[in-house]
Amino acid sequence: MEGDAPVVIPGVDGSNLVPSVVALDPIPPEGGRPTVTVGNSARKALIETPERVIYSVKRLMGRGLEEIQSELKLFPFHLAGDVEAGEVPRIQLGELRFTAPEISAYVLRQLKRNAERFFGAPVTQAVITVPAYFNDAQRQATKDAGRMAGLDVLRLVNEPTAAALAYGLDRAKVGTIAVYDLGGGTFDISILKLRDGIFEVQSTNGDTHLGGDDIDNLLMAIALDEIHAEHGVDMRAHPSAVQAVRKAVIEVKIKLSTEAIAHFDIELPNGDRYQREIPREVFEQLIEPVLNRTAGPCKQAMTDAGITPEEIDEVVLVGGSTRIPAVRQLVDDLFHLAARGKKPHIELNPDEVVALGAAVQAAILAGSSKSTDELLLLDVTPLSLGIEALGGTVARIIQRNSTIPASATEFFTTGVDGQTNVAIHVVQGERELATDCRSLARFDLKGIPPMSAGLPRIEVRFLIDADGILHVTALEQRSGKAAQIEVKPTYGLTDEQVESMILESFDHAEDDFAKRLLIEARNEAETILTAVERAPQSPAWAQLTGEEQAAIAAARDHLNAVKLGEDSSLIRTATLALDQATRRFAELMMEAAVSTALRGKTMDSANEELGEAVTAPHAMAPAEFK
């Protein structure tokens, strides 16, 4: 929060977004554990070493073996071979194996570092957002990931709710809001009532595997089939070529949000070129089935909230995929917007709005900002909680869309004389049969005093907390003994496993915050020093005055002198000074880069390169572009 407004913290690369791409770097020649790269800088590994990269790990969080297997058909990464039933599946990344929470922890750790760099102080607590339709296991896996990353997770906030919070902050409004959130891997719809600063979620629905990835996979399947048919190349045998196609597919998809037509032009491993035009109408026809899958959840959410489209005052769009014009058209149709002279809210960047909302929620929890003092978020559980009853049917004990925290108390007894334990199977979902629902956990109530059948009376209390996570306690009423509960989560890591992963994931050198700041400061210093060293070879160097050249040299010498010291702030100041001294040189180079770019390339790609250059870490950075 900056004053009363949330802001997004940029990373070292200047970008506000850290894509959830995690790459395992090659093992260093001297041996030891390979390091891990996260975010934009991991992206290039997608093409260079696809077998060492994983993305969209969110889709794998809290999922069992079978679910992951079906999910992975569409992705280039693989499960580790020797998975045992009941274990959390691991993904093979190069020579190592990781569970989904561990991968996610790497992303969170990167964000933690970015924040620490920004504040110049350790960051230990966090609010993490999750898709509203995440089930208990997916939420628990997210919390585990936070712990592994060294974060105390104060709250899990549902993404659409966070978005509403970001939008609602500066407008004390009364009304009904629908948040339509179509991201890379998940879809959520939430309907909220806003009154006197209270954001009360009425209903939520969604699909935790539906998103932009599905559009990419659809287009990819078509492209790969066409390449096979027309050029006789089976791309599936060339993982890095497949990633090149994925990159091209994503570029085409993005371009079609603003242009009427886009082109594929991909070089194939056999030297051929795959070229194809995609007009927007064709694209829209192709993706229609994917987009239509969002309609059902929207209608269900309205039914559950007991409202008609006309009663929705505002619609907020969240997630990168809502930039697609066909998605906006669908939203318009679903909520009768144009007919009522309304437009969806797109003022806040759909990729950032959730993070902004999380910052607002963090301020609410910290009680740190006057503007959030009066705000309160009342969220719901997305799925009904039930227990398996006789005959495999489900007895629902907490209905979906119940405001959380929510609780239910059930009584259990024994069926046989002297029986000392009772097994309870807890499930989540809306189907009639337990086997069709999501198995959450099996509880064994143990230590029941031996009595005649039907005599013990065990009170079991189910509590869903404000994070949407289930807790269970039990009490045998006749003896007054707290029954022992042995929880076997159907999917998920045990506390011990999480603890050991915390230890495994910590590189001890980085454990020490001051040391890490120092390493980062030195790295930044090295980056700019290397660039300065190369500067005299650039034609732009000759355009500088002798004075300017001397100033650069002085700043360089100063940085060289302090960089070996132990004071990170001194190094950082010297780095900034050198950055300042080279500003005019960088501008001259940028101009040269523009004219080169314009000569050889289209306006578009030049803009793109410049766009990246402007957000680069130092003004010297354009030197990195060829």
Partner: protein
């Protein structure tokens, strides 16, 4: 479930140790949050058990209490305060969810009064034939046959417009019957709220029957809606 406890029993505050009436959410002496008080859902909102409620007032009270009790307000508090905030808010939410919905409120009050009511959301007994309202036996039988036929047609990928029209008609009729039960229930609310013990006991009996009938009807309507929407 929550029993009405004798609220005159003093309980020592976990923080300041001074005794207080157990129905309070905050200690009158040190203002610290207290464990969930005994008492029923109505008492959470300081209400007498009644079937006609002022819903806007209930919502305002729910919001007011949420602001004070919600775990978000205790993020920096001691662990024990966090624990009571969680428990109190769960109770508040459970109470509000039950009382704001006319049907749940009625069922809850009947249960408080000791009436035997099946579990509303139990997956069991959904099509228990013994519970078919006697005056509807024939119609329900026909409807179930039609539903079965429709399911088979759907599974074969066929459409049957005549059957569909007939089911749509049936849905309309049963929707009307549900509404009729709701009207009858509202009349009973007034009778119960204003009645003496004898009148209340008689009303409770009628309401139990009405709720059974309504549940059966709305399950039917749900089945028909499901298959028509498929």
């Amino acid at each position: 479930m929550f029993k009405v406890l004798d609220s005159a029993v003093p309980i020592a505050c976990w923080s300041c140790s001074i005794g207080h009436n157990d129905s309070t959410l905050f200690c009158p002496h040190c203002s610290k949050i207290q464990p969930p008080p005994g008492g029923d859902y109505f008492s959470v909102f300081s209400l007498e058990p009644k079937l006609n409620l002022d819903l806007p007032a209930l919502e305002r009270e729910f919001h007011r209490l949420s602001r004070r009790l919600h775990p978000d307000r205790f993020a920096r508090a001691e662990d024990i305060e966090k624990q009571w905030s969680l428990a109190d808010t769960a109770l508040l939410n459970d109470a509000y969810r039950t009382l704001k919905d006319p049907l749940r409120r009625t069922e809850y009050l009947l249960k408080l009064e000791g009436a035997e009511i099946g579990e509303e959301f139990s997956g069991m007994g959904r099509k228990d034939p013994s519970r078919v309202p006697a005056d509807l036996l024939e119609e329900v039988f026909d409807l179930n046959l039609q539903l079965e036929e429709m399911r088979m047609a759907r599974n074969m990928g066929q459409s049957d417009p005549v059957l569909e029209a007939s089911l749509t008609g049936a849905k309309k009729k049963f929707d009307g019957l549900v509404e009729a039960v709701d009207r009858d229930l509202r009349i009973e609310w007034k009778l119960w709220d204003e009645g003496d013990e004898v009148a209340r006991a008689a009303s409770e009996k009628r309401m139990v029957a009405m709720i059974d009938r309504r549940r059966y009807l709305s399950n039917l309507v749900r089945d028909v809606t499901e298959i028509l929407g498929a």
